[in-house]
């Protein structure tokens, strides 16, 4: 509709503006007050009372008139100004609430312990549970490893060629994706951790940080690939059953 001057796809227009002043100065003042009220309600964590608005808007502002104007302005928009008791708040238009529900997955934070174990797996992979314990000085709870497996950032890689054939853990492609790393070797080394201030510059001289392997998927010399029987035992493969 390029024919009118106000051509917009989605007009904010109010039908009735009869009550508005014809005095240009007053109109300008009202327009500024509307902008201010809009910003205040937008930025507030809670609905804003008319009294609170009156306190912050210029002295002689007619708060109810300002809010009525603002409410009418937002009436047909994707967001509406709604009255909650004697207070005001912006809310998604009710017919669009489906947009909000779609992915209302609450993001959860990894626990400190889980982050520590994840970091050890990343730097020391392939690494067994006993080795994690040795590095951390505390036992790793089963639940912690379960959570890490659930994130999809950690996987069981294989088995260590050692008594008891303990399972080895490593990181996945999803891990690289999530943390914005191109390859596992991009994890900062000892000097860089020191330089970034994350590690004390006065660590003992025998302190070292392993250099993660260039290729995450290559098996270490003392590491075995998982067999189908392993996968079954670990519950990573459904039993084939019978003679199939």
């Amino acid at each position: 509709m390029p024919e009118t001057g106000h051509a917009r796809v989605f007009p904010f227009a109010r039908a009735d503006s009869a009550e508005l002043s014809e005095n240009p100065a007053e109109r300008l003042h009202l327009a500024e007050a509307v902008r201010m009220a809009e910003a205040i309600v937008f930025a507030s964590a809670d609905p804003v009372s008319e009294k609170a608005l009156a306190d912050r808007l210029p002295g002689e502002t007619d708060v109810p008139a300002v809010m009525a104007e603002l409410q009418a302005t937002y009436e047909k928009r994707g967001v509406n100004l709604v009255r909650v008791g004697d207070s005001w708040a912006f809310r998604t238009a009710s017919d669009l609430s489906f947009l909000m529900n779609r992915e209302a997955v609450q993001q959860r934070k990894l626990s400190r312990a889980a982050l520590e174990v994840l970091a050890i797996i990343a730097y020391h992979q392939p690494v067994t549970r006993a080795e994690m314990e040795e590095i951390r000085g505390v036992e790793t709870a089963k639940g912690t490893l379960d959570v890490l497996m659930e994130t999809g950032w950690v996987k069981i890689r294989g088995r260590r060629k050692a008594p008891g054939r303990p399972v080895t853990y490593g990181t996945t492609i999803a891990f690289l994706d999530h943390f914005g790393l191109e390859e596992i070797r991009d994890l900062p080394g000892i000097d860089e951790l020191k330089g970034a201030g994350l590690l004390s510059s006065r660590m003992p001289s025998n302190f070292s940080i392993p250099q993660p392997p260039a290729n995450m998927d290559e098996f270490a010399e003392d590491e075995d690939e998982l067999t189908d029987i392993d996968l079954e035992e670990l519950g990573l493969l459904t039993p084939r059953g019978g003679d199939d």
Partner: protein
């Protein structure tokens, strides 16, 4: 740096106030002579001195600046203040630069001319000043949470990634470093005080000035600024050994005109251009 005639707790000051807190100090202020706590290293101190010349950085006299800096350091040394190695290395380099500026160039192959070195220093100062101004402009912008505000009562978290677990690389690295450090602490040995070596001095100098080709002549100045005379002989020996190591790695070139003549060392030219991914 122990030279704290007046210690200020700057952490309590508003950000913006940090930018002009040195403007009120002048060279004539006796406190200025002993208080180098407020400076972020020798370049910062030089920049401050340069500003006191009250002219555009492009027009400062580098010679005068070098003299002022040396005067400042000598004053501190006289007061038996323990200066960080960085300040002494810069002093040595400026003494070297001063001699180059005053004595006309002799051979064609004895490193950069005094003018070239002065230009290099000027470039460094200008670049540092530019970054400082940029930081000031940045903090004075309208900032989120101070001047500009986001929605106070967001209705939904729009999750971009499918993963319901959140963790940043910073979280991960912090977790790793702090636990390794915690575990290592039982075995911590007190780090030895690093010997004031020429190699160390050159590292500092590279940070301050960049690669300088004319090491040999410079080393004499560096040695002069080693605070403890008893350390000087070992410093020379260890530095020569370290230099040979660098030659072996292809980072340095070595040249001697004849037996017992000075040994010239310089950074090998033509290092590859850097590239990122």
């Amino acid at each position: 740096m122990k030279a704290s005639a007046k210690k200020q707790d700057r952490s309590g000051m508003p950000l913006e106030a940090l930018w002009d807190d040195k403007e009120d100090r002048t060279l004539s202020d006796p406190e200025m002579l002993v208080d180098i706590d407020g400076f972020e290293g020798p370049l910062d101190l030089l920049l401050h001195l340069a500003r006191n010349q009250k002219v555009d950085l492009a027009r400062i006299s580098i010679l005068k600046l070098a003299e002022q800096y040396l005067e400042f350091i000598n004053g501190a040394v006289k007061l038996r203040l323990e200066l960080a190695a960085d300040y002494l290395v810069m002093a040595a380099w400026l003494a070297f630069l001063k001699s180059k500026l005053l004595i006309p160039k002799t051979g064609s192959d004895d490193g950069e001319s005094g003018e070239e070195l002065a230009e290099l220093l000027q470039f460094r100062l200008k670049r540092l000043e530019a970054m400082r101004d940029a930081a000031a402009r940045l903090v004075n912008r309208n900032r989120l949470g101070r001047d500009i505000f986001q929605r106070g009562d967001p209705e939904a978290v729009i999750i971009e990634k499918q993963n319901e677990w959140s963790a940043t690389l910073y979280d991960l690295l912090t977790a790793y470093a702090s636990q390794r450090q915690r575990q290592a602490i039982s075995r911590v040995a007190i780090a030895l005080r690093s010997v004031w070596s020429l190699k160390h001095a050159r590292q500092i100098l590279t940070r301050l000035i960049g690669d300088v080709r004319d090491w040999t002549a410079l080393d004499q100045f560096l040695i002069a600024f080693i605070p403890d005379p008893s350390e000087r002989a070992t410093a020379i020996a260890s530095s020569f050994a370290a230099s040979l190591e660098l030659v072996r790695e292809g980072q340095l070139e070595v040249r001697q005109e004849a037996a017992f003549q000075p040994i010239y060392l310089r950074t090998k030219a033509g290092r590859p251009e850097l590239e990122d991914y």
